[in-house]
Amino acid sequence: MNQFQYNKANESLSAVKLAAKDPNAHFLAGGTNLIDLMKMGVVIPSKLIDINHLPFSKIEKMPHALRVGALVTNSDVAENDLIKSHFPLLSLAINAGASPQLRNMATVGGNLMQRTRCPYFFDTTMPCNKRSPGSGCGALEGINRMHAIFGASEQCIAVNPSDMNVAMRALDAVVHVSGPKGERAIPIADFHRLPGNHPELDNTLQKGELITAVDLPYTPFTKNVYYLKVRDRSSYAFALTSAAVALYIENGTIKEARLAMGGVAHKPWRLTIAEEFLKGKAVSEDHFKQASQIAMQGAKAYQYNQFKLKLAPNTLVQSLKMASGIASS
């Protein structure tokens, strides 16, 4: 590990100022991803700004949303009673990620910032446009079994590895940030970005901006929800494909649906056309299958992830069945 300067931030304004001054400064929260990347030489910060003492560790009830502080740990979110009653989908998704030890350390803000697990990004001897812009994409013609089927570019086919983000995308979370130019709120749809020609940018944060909280607007999705993660082993594995499903069902009819997928794109992937399709439809496996086929429009696979073209819709169908209660366990 290379030498770096360590700063403990006591208030957010000074943290933001410090970060804005140094192009190579990084905020440190739970450290479950950043420290690994530093050990691998993938990220070489000149300065770590430890934000763990900032007052962002509360879950608060606001009039229109539940506000989750950026430093609340993943475990605390998943086990929180307000979350479990109002946003059970988020709880399910978080508990599908990583391991208990990691969830105890990882924070909400950090999870939003989680880097891809693409092996070419992690191995500094191999090409990766995300780590080293212009070096090429190692995965495009490499071992791309875990990679994107939606929204990728010739520059990058990596996926966002988070489970939490997928549920947040379905729940229309809003990310609050504080930066050198003041505070702003970013809808989660606009927070993560597609790789395009700048895969080095995972998100739309400006230099020095710090995540302070995530708002979860209240929804009617408290009952018919499910997060299904298909993976190579039962725990501590990233998704091959995952599906966050939130349904509002009345008398066997779907009044509203929210669908998002993980393991398929550079950002948590929302399936709005499939949502529209399901609106007003009866709960049935046939409708779920049709919705899943609609969801797959525009999908493109590479040499080793062809299976995702089938696994992704299957995952969505099964998650819809589980959410609506028509799957027999």
Partner: protein, 710 residues
Amino acid sequence: MKKDTIGEPLNRVDGRLKVTGGAKYSGEYKFPNLTYAVLVPTTITNGTVTAVDIRAAKYAPGVLAVITPFNAPKVPGYQPDAKKPVKGLKLFNDNQIHFNGQPIALVVADTFERATYAASLVKATYQAQPFETNFHKNFDSGVTPDGGKYKDYVRGEADAYKNAPVKIEQEYIQPSEMHNPMELHVTTAYWEGDDHVTVYTKSQGVMSSQRAVAAAFDLEPTNVQINSRFVGGAFGSSLRTWPHEIAAVQAARLVKRPVKLTLTREQMFTLVGYRPLTIQKIGLGATADGKLVGITHESHSQTAVYEEFTEGAVNVSRFLYQSPNANTRYKVVPLNIGVPAPMRGPGESTGAYALESAMDELSYALNLDPIELRLRNYTDADQERNLPWSSKYLKECYQLGADRIGWSNRAQKPGTVKDGDWLVGYGIGCGAFGAYRGHAEAKIKLMADGSVNIQSATTDIGPGTNTAMIVIAADTLGLPAEKITFDLGNSSLPPAPTQGGSSTVSSVGSAVHDVCVALKQKLYILQGKPQDSTDDIDYAGVLKQQNLPYLEVTKGSQSGDNAKNYSMYSFSAHFAKVYVHPLTGVVKIKNLIAVVDAGKIVNHKTAASQMKGGAVGGIGMAMTEEAIIDDRFGRYVNGNFADYHVPVNADIPQIEAIFIDKADPIINPVGTKGIGEISLIGVAPAIANAVYNATGIRVRDLPITPDKLI
């Protein structure tokens, strides 16, 4: 009256030490002036390193030495005129690069962090050459290994299956699989003078480590002391002394201080072996009523360009079933990769995956129950060596396992048994592994208080060896286990073989048995009784009566000639019950039953634990483990614990071990045959066959990940 202790479930005698952190592993010994070594791996895959710029590293804080191929002190055993030339990679002895990850420098510093940082400052210049890591592309350049053991085998007519009324011809792929013990490989070495070295290292054989270090540095073996008291798993990765261990000893000699070298997890993927990627072709031919008429088993495995690795991947097809015709071919494909190493159930588990999958395929082709097919081809003698079995209870294994797993609930037609949305399947996979016994010595010391200490230079990589030895001694001496201690893991103790090939209880256990008998005989003689008396002995009393402060006996032990007249194997039948989700391809293993004919079981508790550990290894082989190389770069893309998937707790079902527990009358005085390997051999095909029974999908390339089942 003597009470039988053999077989009694005795808790691990070092269990408390292990769970409280009191057990000291090789990396945990502290020495004054300890220094830390870190390796610098190459990033090319073939060629030469033309220069190594060590200036920045050398002057980094705390750095004591930087060893490269251009400045390394000569290792005598690496030289052409060596008395005992060292085999394999001669690290830092020349500038040839054979595989990606091969170390090109070693940095020694006063702290681990400083050594790690300095290692990052080492810059190498290379002359890269084209390389080959792609096994499939180089399949046709496979060569038949040297030595008679691996030459083509033919019994009756070769490829006779081709003309049989019913035949199966299929290819099965076992990917590269890493041992990945939880404990990293660590070596700490310090020299006293120029001719005496002490080494703490993760070793399965302190005597073989002693021989290897002595040969490398041209020392008297007695001047090399190897310690390996506790080993946090090895699975075959510590059967040999690796080049980096020699490098650590070399570095300690150079800096004249103790040096500790710990591999990183990533380095564990390139420097300490693995189960080689193997493609196997099986041909089975049978009569319409299910009698085998021909078995053909061809195997191609990875090996390194700089050293040939071989294992018994085709052996099991020569003797497991009755067949007038059987032939095997075995080839290795040299590639620019690190050399493989035996991994638990070496070769045989790879071979059994192919043979037992093919037997399953044949059973469906014949529309015959897979157990019935095995019964129709049961063999009461070893057709390969034309010898009787020393003991074999595989039929009983089939029966016990079938009853226990609920085989009667299995449907012959795949995909027909359901539980909710889940498809349910049952599978069987069998295995065999040679039961060996090597020469071992043990020393016993009877103390004035009637307690005994026994010593032998074996190791315990996890099965509970000292516990088993104490059970054997307690049984033979008629003493309670609490009165007995057993020392191992040090090369200055009476010599014993390496812990490998499931042979420790057979070899060292026999020495312990024999030395206990020798002590009793001595005590009878001291009392003026015939040496073969059977009276109870008052151990403390005899010493007191004879006015002896203690009594010591050392005894060597090995098989007699009788062993040559028998074929000796442990046998297993593994049964799996699986659930498969038809939409997501997710497999849940519901139940695993391992039924084993391994002779007499010395300690049912530790033996059952060992069986479960082997089954977990089998689940990894079947379901999750695969080390993947990007052949454009020659580098592993999943060389870490996040991306290389060993099974997690949630993947592991209830596992039950059932022992036939009948003493083998031939192999050794206790009648044990060994369970280390057989606990894994046959598990993967049992699971794969169950998955087929559930889904009708035959996975012929492990691991069985969800994508292969949708």
